[in-house]
Structures are given as C-alpha cells and as structure tokens.
Symmetry: C2
Subunit: 286 residues, 2 copies
Amino acid sequence: MINQLTVIGVGLIGGSLARSLREAGAVGTIVGCGLDKNQLQKAIDLDIIDKYETDVARAVVGSNLVVVAVPVGVMESVFRQLKSHLAEDAVITDVGSTKGSVVEAMRNAYGEVPEQFVPGHPIAGTEKSGVDAGFAGLFHGRRVLLTPLPQTSPQAIELVRYMWQKTGAVVSEMDLKHHDDVLAATSHLPHLLAFSLVDTLVAMDEKAEIFQYAAGGFRDFTRIASSHPQMWHDICVNNREAILQILKRFQVDLDKLGCAIANNDSDYILDVFTRAKKSRDQFSNN
Amino acid sequence: MINQLTVIGVGLIGGSLARSLREAGAVGTIVGCGLDKNQLQKAIDLDIIDKYETDVARAVVGSNLVVVAVPVGVMESVFRQLKSHLAEDAVITDVGSTKGSVVEAMRNAYGEVPEQFVPGHPIAGTEKSGVDAGFAGLFHGRRVLLTPLPQTSPQAIELVRYMWQKTGAVVSEMDLKHHDDVLAATSHLPHLLAFSLVDTLVAMDEKAEIFQYAAGGFRDFTRIASSHPQMWHDICVNNREAILQILKRFQVDLDKLGCAIANNDSDYILDVFTRAKKSRDQFSNN
C-alpha cells in the first residue's frame, strides 16, 4: 500500500519510522529529506533510506505518503515547500508533539487544511536526537494519536493508521484540543520542570559539585533535560496556552505544598504524597 | 572488625546493607530490629539477619556496631531507647537523608552528641520499600557521606567507613549543613516536584485517562513519586529550611520560564534549555 514513502526529517523519529517500516516490509522505496547531507548519507549507509534529496519539492515526487518529522516550528515552511509538488492523491502526515499549531501551520501554508492531511503524534521517543539514536522497535507497543479534522479523508486516515500499525504501535484517534491539553500535562510540563530544575542547580553550583552527589532518582527525574533544546522550545511556543494553563495549576499546588512544609502541616504533606504514590503505582502496574 | 551488628529498621536500606555485609563476609552476627515481626521473620528466611528483636534495648546488647535505618522522624525515639543499653565502646551510625535533624535528635536523646555516633547517609535507594526490595549490590559504586562532628571519635569514623567500604560504596566526609543543602537540591526537591506533579494531574483527571497517554519521559520523571510517603514526609519536615530555600529559588526560575513562554521570549527559553541540556549531558557522561 505504501509504494514510495518520503520522510522529511530523518532524525530520531523519522529515522526510526523508516527502519521499522523497512523491517516490516511495509514500504517500497524510502526517500529521505533533510538539510544535513552527512546525516542523510549516514541513513543510506545504515540502509534506513534508499535515496535522499535536500530539496523538499524534489523529495516528494512520486511518493504516495509523506511523513513530516521536523521540529514543529519548521512545519509551516516545509508544508509551503511541498504544497505544489505533491501528487494529487498523496497523503501527508506529521509526527509533531503539538497538534493545534501543526494544523494551523498547514492552514497558513495551504489556505485551508487539505483532506489528505492526517495530523499524527507517536507518543514515543528518547532524550537523544539524530538518525544514529533511532531504532526499529521505538514505536512497538507505544501509542500513536491521530487528530483528524472533519474534512480529513477516511482513506488518508486508513493509510496513516496502516503505516503506524506496521511499526507495532497502538493507533487511536483523539480530538485535537484534547490532545494538546493531555500532552501539555504528561509530557510538555515534565520537560519544562526538568530543564528548569537542572538550570536552577547549575546556577547555584559553580563548581558543578552538587551533581556529584546526585543519585538514581535525580538521574531519572532529569533525564529528559538532555532533550533537544530547539525541539522543546518549538513545542513550548506552539502549545503555549495549554502549557501555561497546566503550569499555573502546578505552580499553585506546589506553592500549597511549600506552605504546608513551612507550616509543618503533616496531614497535608502526607495526603499529597500518599495520593501521588497510589496513582503512580497504578501507572507502573499498567 | 564487626563482631556483632544490629540493624534497626530492616527495610530497603537496612536490609540491603545486611545482605551486602553478609556477602562480603565482613560481619559475624547480624541482629535485626523492627516493629513488624513478619518482615523480620522474612529477613531471617532470606538469611539476611541471624536473629531479631522487636525491642531496641534487647537488640543492641552485645553489638559493637549499631546502624539505625528508620525514617528520620523516628530517629529520636530509637536513640532514646538504645541509650542506656549500648556497650560503652559500641559505635552508632544512621542512614538518614537529613543530617542536621538526626544530630539534633541525638542531642535531644542523649543530652549531648556522643563521640561514638557517626552520622551517615548512603546516597542510594530505589522508589521501593521493605526488606523484599533490597539487594546486596545497592551501594556498589554509590557514594556514602559521613558528617562527623568535632567530637566524633576517629576510631568510630574508621569503623563506619570500613563497613560502607565493604559494600563497595565510595565513602567521603562532608560538613553537615552542606550535606543538607546539597541533598535538598539534588534529592529532596526532585521528590517534592514528582509527588506534586502527579498529584496535580490526578486532581484534574477523574478518569485517570491522562496517564494512558504518558510515555517513557513521564515514567522516569515521576518514578520517585512511588517512594514511601511517610519517609519523605519526615525528610521534608526534618530538612525544612534547606528545602524551602531551594524550592523558593526553583519557583522563581520556573516563574521566569513561564513568563518567557507567555511572552514568546525564544532566546530566554532556548538559553535555559541549552544550559540545562549541557549540564545534564555532562552528568550522564560521568
């Protein structure tokens, strides 16, 4: 069903998708597209893609499916470049972590959101970046959320769903606004907190001595602070409203907890910790 | 050198220490002490301890080293119980995450801090609790900080240092106040944030739907929210000043980051993320 696939942005996500579809025998030719020829050549050497183009317009010629896997801040520019070069029945999807802004980018580029565009988001990744960091099993058992619009073509959705299922992912559909709220809470805010905490500690610790005494809890808690700064900048800017809303809620709750500690309010502290532990334990058991 | 060791509190830390010393052949008899006979019997069944007592006074008779591995909120009560039953030359140490409060607890119990008491803190652990969760390798390659006072006996320090070295830990000494400040930053605050974030999400998510869409980043970030609520309550209460100080700093920085997102201040956001990533990457490489 996928004769020729173009992956624009052959990094952690785009590269892993190509590896996975290749391994599953689910695609004929894979064309990679990006700005960094060294990375693209590496992708060829690793047999992840068949050929590459640095020009979006050329990269999409002849493909019946195009996956845009670039930071969300660059989506609009990519959409503009591919607009008049895509085959009429070709399907476009993306992997961006913010869906409202990507749909907006498409609207800006195309004038209206075309029916063959299926906004998508694989909830998978690591703190690493680049084609080297990818692996075929990245999406196995992970969720992929599609956020189609009323005008989105059922056939287009079907093709994108097929593609993700071939990677072993569990595909479901979700309202676009709901997606952005949920991800702000479970992904974007934790990243903000991790970046912010590490930066606070760096500022107070000229000799980087503090980190010497950090243990496994700190290591895991701050792992996501090693994530790609530009990508996460783009996410913050592109999901601003939802992020600020959940951040505000968190700040209010954190302030209450701080007051409880200052006031020696053991009941309050224990209540928060006990509720949190209960939910986190349930999450682990799922 | 350790003829008989008493471990008061045979949980994750106390149990792992006993396992490790046993495996290293570094100790003659190990006496466990605690409140829960089932847990203590389990420790005997697992060959972690040789015998147990539920009474502190009886548990320390004949031991030349006593390790107090209970939540820091219970330290003073334990110190009071063992006070007049300990052999005169027996050494006492503890494993509490807050050292100022434990020394204070000892001062309250004994009137003054005895020279044979060596405050200690192994920077190791998991989010799990109980004797089952322990393992002999828990301290291998991890740091143990001792925070002796001017009056602390060098021989007592030597014995405690010897004990931890036998577990494979790297032992160093640190000023007590500095310990509490450093741990507030690298351990206590991250735990607070993880507990608080999970609790915020639970409150806004009646159907626990949000957690379904959480990925590996969230899983690692919130792992420590599965930690023991009472133990962490005790730590918050017992390292209040240092925790409130670093929490305040973090809140100010987080607020600035939130403002930068609200104001679309890309430079500020990128600066924070880039500095944090650089430091976190260095930490990973150590």
